[in-house]
Symmetry: C2
Subunit: 351 residues, 2 copies
């Protein structure tokens, strides 16, 4: 063994959802949007001057920040942007959770919370969801170093009431509370309206789902001017130029096209509701989803078996080999045609 | 004071070189390339299917990695890519420097080394350059937790001999040694050829300077397969998708166009050599530069005064208010026309 090997950070690498190489696969495993981004994104990328790429991008991300501020009726100084919500969330962990007390988040939740907590040496405590996979608000009332949860939760797709979120905000005047709204645009109500009242709130969103821009890596955080300034200070202190000029242009264009955004998110919601009915008719059990995926279990056929058979049939969904959820499948909402193919297969497999 | 304020990371934000808003400024302050990226970059971006942006990018960055491996005659598994060399370097710090012993780097060097060391709680020791701003190799022979230095050094532009680099590699079998080659393509010899002999070497490069892609955020690390695997494991463990599909496509195209790369870097070198002569004729003193900038001082006129007067004349250069170098200007090599304007101004200011 080399002496330097003992200084190397050893990790268990995360395995992202498979990106199949062969064509014809129906890909319902990474919660991507089945529709392309707004045509305005294409125009913005075409309008990008290649010669200008020799310059560093705008470190303040001013135009994208401005577009988001206008869209959500906020001050631009209340908006922070980054390289996908993973980057934004990692920055929030680094900036806000430097406490001796544990950060609280649900046991069934976005798997990276635990990863970032370990990375930044933040103590944490995972709080079990109840038997219906719901967050019990009162579990988040004890003394802590911060709170984070997705709403809707992932991978359950369940939505928390605004009144429950407010209870958690009120119970935690001493902590920053992050509401991770990666999937909020598929029928849920955002907590953004609480920003006027609660200075301990941070709302995080992504362009990877509802804005069809997973390939461009864009995320955002919304909070008080004070908290956003802390985030920017940390960002500038160790990497001034995170978002490319292309991402900044594409993101701004996507935000500006509200009509397209509403049309495509509504279409996904309609498909989700229809397919929910069809899967329940096949015996699948699940809570109502407010995300662009369904989190389903079947009383007779093990999820892992369905996962493998679907894969053989060229339909990729997500299966988590994890306690409590190892009999569930997470199925991204695709186009109507893709979902029809899925339902046909599942009808065969559950006969 | 709010209770959560004590849990917030407080930093002194870094001030990047000014990005002037008003037109007509001659911008020689951030070491950007005066020439646009390869025409193949424009073609690659035009060929990018906007609809495909709904998908996550390739987390393995396979095509870009392959292009770099072919260009430098390496195995693709010896190549790691990231969001600019700042991202790549930060990942290297996080992965390789988890020691109780100090990381060693020069006192006059890239200012972010210190920032990342503090961020990841890595002990470090800054080693003074000698009076000619040169690295004394023997200073890096003592027991340490890692070594990093730029070659050519920034902001001095001075090149280290390959034999000196090899001495440091040989003297440090127990440490990872990173050679940060952000500016190597402007006349220096890369340490890449040492990768066959020394398994403790990591070479880091960027697309922001010689490849005219500062706006796309692309950087790379080259090392043994083993070290690159450690880097990828750490990357995947906390953020699988760092580089956008647009950056991957632009980067690959830039690497594939070697003729353009050689033409533009040679042009910058020719301009640098010519302007070096002209500035010396005005009395400026400086070591030969092997980078796309000059690091100059004048025996009579204080650097800060020149900096301010140039700014008034619409020419931005870089001035560091730092011990030992506060009488120096760092001047990026621009086009011949831009440099002519600079020399004219400096002739007036030093008369």
């Amino acid at each position: 063994m080399k002496a330097w090997e003992k200084n190397i950070r050893r990790v268990t690498p995360y395995t992202p959802g498979e990106q199949p190489k062969r064509p014809g696969i129906i890909k319902l495993n990474t919660n991507e949007n089945p529709y392309p981004p707004s045509p305005m994104v294409e125009q913005a990328l075409k309008a990008l001057d290649p010669a200008a790429l020799r310059r560093y991008p705008d470190p303040t991300c001013a135009k994208l920040t401005q577009a988001l501020a206008e869209e959500y009726h906020l001050d631009p100084e209340q908006v922070f942007t980054g390289v996908g919500s993973d980057d934004v969330l990692a920055m929030c962990f680094m900036t806000f959770f430097n406490s001796e007390k544990p950060l609280l988040f649900p046991d069934i939740s976005y798997s990276f919370y635990e990863v970032w907590a370990e990375l930044f040496k933040i103590p944490f405590q995972k709080i079990p969801l109840d038997d219906q996979f719901q967050i019990r608000t009162e579990d988040y009332f004890e003394s802590n170093g911060g709170v984070i949860f997705p709403n809707p939760n992932a991978p359950t797709g369940q939505l928390m009431e605004q009144s429950s979120i407010e209870e958690i905000l009120i119970a935690n005047p001493d902590s920053i509370v992050i509401v991770d709204e990666a999937y909020i645009d598929f029928g849920g109500e955002s907590a953004l309206h609480f920003l006027n009242q609660y200075d301990n709130l941070v709302v995080v969103q992504t362009f990877s789902k509802s804005r069809s821009l997973a390939g461009m890596r864009i995320g955002a955080a919304f909070a008080s001017k004070e908290l956003i300034k802390y985030l920017n200070d940390v960002k500038y202190s160790f990497n001034s130029y995170t978002m490319s000029s292309a991402a900044l242009a594409a993101g701004e264009a996507a935000v500006r096209d509200r009509a397209y955004f509403e049309e495509t998110t509504q279409r996904i919601i309609r498909t989700r509701e229809r397919v929910s009915g069809e899967l329940r008719a096949l015996g699948f059990q699940f809570a109502d989803s407010y995300a662009n995926f369904l989190f389903v279990t079947h009383p007779r056929i093990p999820a892992q078996q369905l996962f493998e058979k679907l894969k053989e049939a060229g339909i990729y969904v997500r299966y988590f080999r994890q306690p409590r959820i190892d009999n569930y499948l997470r199925i991204t909402i695709g186009t109507d045609e893709e979902m029809d193919a899925l339902v046909r297969q599942l009808a065969l497999l559950t006969k």
